[in-house]
Symmetry: C2
Subunit: 256 residues, 2 copies
């Protein structure tokens, strides 16, 4: 039986999603729960990787098991054995046609920035910028990324040397909550470091360091060296993975 | 010169305020910054201890130094050397009459409880109760603690065997923010575990397990065995330390 699992995690203490030999990863922590329940090692397949220190509100993975458990018993089994910074929120039986990575149609990422005073309670979950940013400029810069673009200038070397670095950002959003900004990107797919590199460019514009035209120039350059900056992963959240057009339409329709 | 320092910390990774041989404490982490700047070891004096995993928004300590730095340079020196979960928010020159513990007149503690779904991002900073609580019952139980009482039944053995366990709670407050409750206690002083034991009693009433009379009975028993429960320190914050009657009057007057 194939199972689709949705989970949230605080990535602060992990080297990222993918199994690592040098320390704990989300994947290896989840697999160790499954390995304790199965006679053979179990591999889980995530919707994609998240990097070191990056969080997820609703990451998705699938795995296959011969064990005769129902969804609610799987959920209880996971949550009784997982550490307190990883939590399974949903388990669903799926057909073998479902693949967490290959079936994904779109994703939402969020990036949180604190513009108010330094906050020790959110140092690992919100980027501590601790200076003002101009809301209008942030919005202008964000809108540069909407639509279909070649994102070569906003992805990491050397892991993304595949020829096609064209992606579509369906929508960006900017929300202000007290002294924090939350930047949202809904897109067809994201290259490595792409969100963090878009965010650093948006922050440069929001702080007044760059005119918004510079973002367009960097995009047009299609050159991995054009930006040369990134931002800490601590403010980044994989917020949602969409598997049907209906789910995506519902979100894109709801606030447009 | 004597300095009064106000700091916030996320206590999740610390054994508590007080210096420990078995692992990191807030006190030893702050002292190691001062020791790197002084030829002789420096001792800091806190307003009181906080236990393992307990947080502070505005803990206060004092120390003496011969170094010729002004307040803003002290603040920068601390914050450039402290880890990211400890942050100095204010440094003030004081006379030798000031003592962080002996001069304190009152304190405010806060306890945060999540009644909504489990939240991995606040697992170390808000108690994950994850079940509903009755707001009216919580308020009734909280009000039992207001006034001057013998808190023997709500303090820890064997550290509080001093004869006088009478304390005054000037005010309690209950605030609801989304699915979280924040319980506030403003009092003349707090015995070890006292806030956490009052909170567990309030939760027992709020969940419907206990009638509110049971809280009064436990208080009247003046017996350390009468309660026999405590709650995790992860939801507890030392919120403010009052050194003048004016500061205290301002807070007590503002929302009464």
């Amino acid at each position: 039986m194939r199972w689709k699992v949705t989970l949230s995690y605080n990535g602060a203490k992990y080297l990222g999603w993918q199994r690592q030999i040098h320390g704990p990863s989300i994947q290896s922590t989840v697999e160790s729960v499954l390995n304790a329940m199965h006679p053979e090692p179990v591999t889980i397949h995530g919707s994609g990787r998240t990097d070191r220190g990056v969080h997820a509100r609703a990451q998705v993975f699938h795995f296959d098991s011969m064990l005769n458990l129902d969804a609610s018993r799987w959920e209880r089994a996971f949550n009784s054995m997982l550490p307190r910074d990883i939590h399974v929120t949903k388990v669903e039986a799926v057909t073998e046609a479902f693949h967490a990575r290959l079936s994904a149609r779109a994703k939402t990422y969020e990036y949180r920035i604190e513009c108010g005073p330094y906050n020790v309670f959110e140092a690992e979950t919100t980027y501590q910028y601790n200076s003002p940013l101009n809301e209008g400029a942030l919005k202008q810069a964000l809108s540069c990324f909407e639509g279909t673009h070649d994102f070569t200038s906003f992805c990491a070397n050397p892991l993304d040397l595949k020829p096609n670095q064209v992606r579509t950002i369906y929508r960006t959003e900017l929300e202000k909550r007290d002294s924090q900004y939350c930047l949202t990107f809904i897109g067809s797919g994201f290259l490595r470091y792409m969100v963090r590199r878009m965010v650093i460019a948006v922050v440069e514009v929001g702080s007044g360091e760059w005119p918004v035209e510079r973002v367009k120039e960097i995009m047009a350059a299609k050159d991995k060296q054009a930006l040369g900056l990134t931002i800490d992963g601590c403010g980044l959240y994989l917020d949602q993975v969409f598997y049907t057009q209906e789910e995506l339409d519902r979100v894109l329709g709801s606030t447009q």
